[in-house]
Each structure stands twice: as C-alpha cells, then as structure tokens.
C-alpha cells in the first residue's frame, strides 16, 4: 500500500498545481475588487483552445503559445472593459452575476467556434515516461509543476516588490483612498483581469496535453479552482496556491487509499470541515480586519 504513495503524491501535485493556478486567478481579481470572477475557468479553456487552433494552423510551438496567451488576455481585458466596468458602482453580487453571464457567453462562443469535440494538444517535450522510484511521471507533469512554481513566484514578486503590484493591493484595501493617492483604480482593475486571464491561459496550455480540452472544460476547473481559493482563504494569493495543492493531494490520496468513487466527496468534506472551524479559510484574513 505505502509503495504506491509516491505515485499518488505525484498525481496529486500535478492536478493540484492546475487548481492552484486557477485559484490564483480567482484570488487576484477578488483582491482587486472583491468580485469572484466565475469566468476564470473559461480563461483556462480559451487559452488551451487558442493554442491548439494555432498549432493546427501550423504556427511554430512557442509563437502559438504566446499568441494564445495574448488572445486570452485580450478576452480578459474585454470582459472588464465591456461587462464589468459599465456596471461600476453596482453591488459586488451584481458584478459576480455579470461574470457568471460572461462565462456562459464565452462557453457558447467556444461551442460555436470549436464545436463539441474534445481537442488534444501535443506534449511540450515528448511522452516518454520518467521513472522516479516506484512512481512514473510524464515530462508534461514536470512542466505543469515547474510552470506553476515559476508563475507563483512571479506573482508573489509582482505584488510584494513592484509599485504597480502594491498599487493593485491598495485598490483592494480601500479604493477611495487609493484613488486619492493618485492610483488609477480603473486601470488597476483592468490589469487584474488581464493578469488573471494570463494565469488562466498558461494553466490551460500546461494542462491541455495531459487532459485534452473542450468548450465546457472550464466549468469543472473553475469550480475546483474556486474551491482551492476558498480553502486557502479568499483574498490570499499564496493561500489559493496552498489550497489548490492541498485539494489535488486530498483527491488523489482519497481515491488511492479510500475509494475512487468518493474522491470528490472526501475533498469537499475536508473543505467543509476547514470552513466550519476557520470560516475565512486556512490562510485567510479574518473578516473583522477588513472593516
């Protein structure tokens, strides 16, 4: 039983890395505007679909990935500009409902453009499995884990060390005060959506070779990423990452040691327990602090 543990952990960390990236996207927009952007999963899907389309059209690998990321960021910016910004001043709930609507619209457009079929993306560097003790993993697993690590560190650096990142955080703490300090809150919000879309697109492209993608692939990933963000504490970027990894490992261990049929249930029960004892999530700020 225990000799299977490394394999379970590798699976858990790979899946968890993706949840973490999606969760991070949720956290960034939540940080900037208190809005949960339910179109986050669609960013993941669009990134992967765009990359696959460009690759089939004959674009060189790297260029296809970069272009797909740029297109997805454009979608994210458009979402902010044309759907969220006109509703400025509306309550947070209204804005959240707008993002739900946007996610349905994006899914519908994807259905029309790419059809109902599943699409496969070539692996970044071959499909020869690597052996690690009793466990095997694909080079793509390493890409997923490595890519996630790089992005997480970059995001951390952005928020902690750059003035733009700090300005973005300031908007979340107190938009009015931030505006008075000369920060362009509207531009910051645009930046947050662009950044989230970028994270989503990269997550989509990293994972598409392993999981395939289809027009509705964003629904489940969005849900899992949202759970990750909640588990880690909404509004805490690194919490979302930890939450994602934890969720992935929980699912994998649950399936491995208990029952694969109850895999999701086990993960969600743990989330419920955490929220029961610590409503703001594992690493969340207490809500009183926000007042």
């Amino acid at each position: 039983m225990l000799d299977q543990l490394p394999q379970f952990l590798i699976t858990g960390v790979t899946v968890g890395s993706i949840y973490a990236l999606v969760g991070l996207g949720f956290a960034i927009i939540y940080n900037a505007s208190d809005v949960v952007n339910f179109a986050q999963g669609e960013f993941v899907m669009i990134g992967a679909m765009m990359a696959i389309s460009l690759l089939t059209a004959g674009a060189p690998f790297l260029i296809a990935l970069v272009l797909a990321a740029v297109c997805t960021v454009a979608v994210g910016l458009a979402l902010e500009k044309f759907a969220v910004e006109p509703a400025r001043g509306a309550s947070v709930v209204t804005l959240i409902i707008i993002t739900i609507g946007a996610s349905i619209l994006l899914r519908g457009i994807a259905l029309l453009v790419w059809g109902k079929n599943f699409h496969a993306m070539p692996h970044f560097s071959g499909e020869t499995p690597l052996h690690l003790g009793s466990a095997t993993l694909l080079p793509q697993n390493l890409w997923v884990m490595g890519g996630t690590a790089v992005l997480v560190i970059a995001v951390r650096w952005f928020f902690g060390r750059t003035s733009v990142g700090k300005a973005l955080l300031a908007c979340s703490c107190n938009p009015t005060a931030a505006q008075l300090m000369g920060i362009n809150v509207r531009r910051m919000l645009l930046l947050a959506y662009g950044l989230s879309a970028l994270l989503g697109a990269v997550a989509g492209m990293l994972v598409a070779p392993i999981t395939f993608t289809s027009y509705d692939a964003g629904v489940m990933l969005g849900l899992k990423g949202f759970s990750a963000a909640i588990l880690g504490g909404m509004g805490n970027s690194m919490g979302a990452v930890a939450g994602g990894l934890l969720l992935g490992i929980l699912e994998s261990l649950g399936a491995g040691f208990v029952s694969s049929g109850y895999k999701d249930a086990i993960a969600f029960v743990v989330i419920l327990l955490v929220l029961f004892f610590k409503p703001s999530g594992l690493f969340g700020r207490g809500s009183s602090e926000r007042v």
Binding site: T11, P129, H131, I210, F212
Partner: protein, 380 residues
C-alpha cells in the same frame, strides 16, 4: 398609416393562424424528441440531422403511401422532465403518428408512461437495456445495448485466456449502466473482477486509480466510458508502464479516441458498430451497402458520421417500412408491423424483431476491433 400597418399585421396573423390550423390527414407525422443541445448533444445532434436529411429525401421521392412525411421535433436538452412535456405535446397537440426518439435512456424511460397511456408506437434511439426489458407493448429501440458490448468483450477475453479483470468506469449514466452489466455478467463467463475503480467524467488524471489496479493480479483492464476520460485512462495506463491488454467500450468507437489517446491506443480492443469500419467490411456483408450509403450522404452534408446518427436512420427506416406494410397510420397496425420487422438491414445490424425482442439485434451486430497503427482493424 397606422391603421394600414395594423390591418396588415392582422391579416398576417390570420394567415399564420390559418396555416397553423391545417391538420394532419394529408401528411404522415413523425414525432421526435432529442437532446440536440446540452450534455448529450453529441447524441441528439447527429440524430436530428439524420432524421431531417432522410425525411427530406423520402419526400423528394414522393413520400410514402402517396403522402408527404412531416417531422415534428422538440429539443429536450438532456432533461428527462422536458422529455415528458414534449412527448405529451407530440401526442396531444401535434397528433403525431409514430415517435422516433429519445436520445438518452433517461429521456426515453421518462416518456414511456405517456406513450403507453396514449397507445402510440415509440422507437427509442437510446442504449439502455431497461427500455425493452421487460418488453413493453408500444416501445422499441434500435441501438445495441451495453450488455451486448460486455458479452462481446468477455468472449474475447475468454479466447485470450484472461480470467481476472480490473474494471474502471466513469460517473455518467452510460458508465454506471455498463458497470452494472459487467459485474452481473462476468461470473457467467468465468471472469473475476478483481478491481472496481471509478473516476469523474471531467477528471483530468486517473493514474491514482490505475496505480491501485497495477497492484492487483488483474490480467486485463476494462474501461467503460465515453468522452475524453477513456482516452486519458488509456494514456495513463501506458504512462504507468502497465503492459496489460486494455479493453474499451463502444462508447469511444470513433476516430477521435485514437487521435486523443495517440500511441497509447495501440492494441486497445473494443466492440463497435459496423458503421465505424464500413469500408473494411467484406463485399459479401449485407450491411456494407447500407452503411456506405448512409456514410457518404451524411458526410457530404455534415462532416464525420457517428453511430448515433445511424441509430436514427434505423429508427426512421423501421417506422417507415412498418407504415408501408400497415398501409396506413393506424397506430395498432403500425405497432404490429414494427414487431414483425424481419431481416431489415440497418446501420446497427440486421433487425429481426419478435414479440419477446423489441430490439431485434444479435450479439454479432457488434464487431470486435483493435487499434493497429492508428487505425481500426476488425479482428472478430
């Protein structure tokens, strides 16, 4: 000016009412309710296109019994609740003569009470055995069942000397029904199911479940499912270095599966309808002509053919032939004639219905295929 527009609108409305009011008598009405949108759209979409295409073709050839056919369609979006409403509407408002439809087993089962109450023949396009077992007087179906798929797989396992198998299935209706059949039938074929794992159909990685299977003494892996998940399972099996033979179900019998699973698909065996390998059938096969005809026609209009559309072709054909033999649309007579369908060559196989068998296909309607060099090869 205003009054003139008002008058015009009134006239238009009256004209529309008048055309809407013209009732049957000069047309034969085929009713259908399919999941054209929603999660089961991959079933309903090709089914509806097929029905529309052939109704058009029959009408261009003068219709049947001197009457034109009229297709009345409602989209259930995969909701059984909607299916009941639409079937009621088909029967009461549209006054259809026969119903060909129900894309999924859930939709069909929900509609059956209405159909039995109204005593109107229903030919379902869904896979579940429970539609025709036990036999219901007014209900028929055209697709193969998952039990036939399981039997076909078990026969092949026996030939290969496999005694222990590991089962892995998804959490969809198709998967669960297949799992039930496998667990029920395996002992009859002297097979022991040593692992029974499951995954979510939207899951992205099944290595955990397969690692558990690797630790058992299974001699083969059987995966019952459809969509992207079976392709992921197949890839994960090879990734983990598991050398056991892999069996898939008819749920993935399309080029898309080979494309998605890539090299990992090599050697995978599965039962599939003959439509998938129409070109490879020997010229003596009675189905070959029907299959190639359907395939060419469908692909000329709508892109790659699917076995699901084929089920709709079979259903319409059975209904039309029965109406011709009954020389009219008397519901009881048409029902009797559907039950008397003999030697009718469809896309799913040769239909021989009886009072005890309202599907009429034998197990060998499924071909056993193996993936070799990225293509299907018929091995049995």
């Amino acid at each position: 000016m205003k009054t003139r527009i008002g008058l015009f609108a009134f006239a238009l409305g009256a004209a529309m009412l008048a055309t809407g009011g013209v009732h049957a008598g000069d047309t034969i009405k085929i009713g259908t309710f399919l999941s054209v949108t929603g999660p089961a759209s991959f079933l309903g979409d090709p089914e509806l296109r097929t029905l529309q295409m052939y109704v058009e073709e029959l009408n261009a050839g003068g219709g049947i019994l001197g009457k034109k056919l009229e297709l009345v369609h409602y989209d259930t979006a995969g909701q059984a609740k909607e299916a009941v409403t639409f079937v009621k509407r088909l029967i009461q408002n549209d006054g259809v003569d026969v119903i060909v439809g129900g894309s999924s087993t859930g939709d069909t089962m929900a509609a059956i009470p209405e159909v039995e109450k109204a005593e109107i023949p229903l030919i379902s396009l869904a896979g579940g055995v429970e539609i025709v077992e036990p036999v219901k007087k007014w209900v028929f179906k055209t697709p193969h069942t998952d039990r036939m798929a399981a039997i076909r797989i078990f026969e092949d396992m026996k030939k290969r000397g496999i005694r222990k198998l590991a089962l892995i299935t998804g959490d969809g209706g198709f998967d669960k029904s297949g799992r039930k059949q496998v667990l029920e039938l395996a002992p009859k074929y002297g097979l022991e199911v040593v692992a029974d794992e499951s995954y979510g159909n939207k899951d992205t990685d099944m290595t955990t479940q397969l690692t558990k299977i690797r630790a058992t003494d299974a001699q083969a892996i059987l995966n019952f499912g459809f969509g992207a998940a079976p392709a992921i399972v197949t890839r994960n099996v090879r990734q983990l270095g598991i050398a056991l033979p892999v069996y898939q179900s008819h749920g993935v019998a399309s080029k898309k599966f080979i494309e998605m699973a890539g090299e990992a698909a090599e050697g995978v065996r599965l039962p599939a309808a003959a439509l998938v390998v129409a070109e490879q059938l020997p010229a003596t096969d009675p189905q070959k002509k029907v299959l190639l005809d359907y395939k060419t026609k469908f692909e000329a209009k709508h892109g790659e053919v699917s076995t699901f559309g084929g089920h709709a072709y079979d259903g319409l054909l059975i209904a039309v032939e029965a109406i011709k033999r009954a020389k009219g649309t008397d519901k009881a007579k048409v029902r009797d004639e559907i039950e008397r369908t003999k030697g009718l060559v469809g896309t799913a196989g040769v239909f021989n219905m009886t009072a005890e068998d309202h599907m009429g296909l034998s197990v060998d309607a499924f071909k056993l295929l193996e993936v070799r060099k990225g293509s299907w090869v018929i091995i049995d």
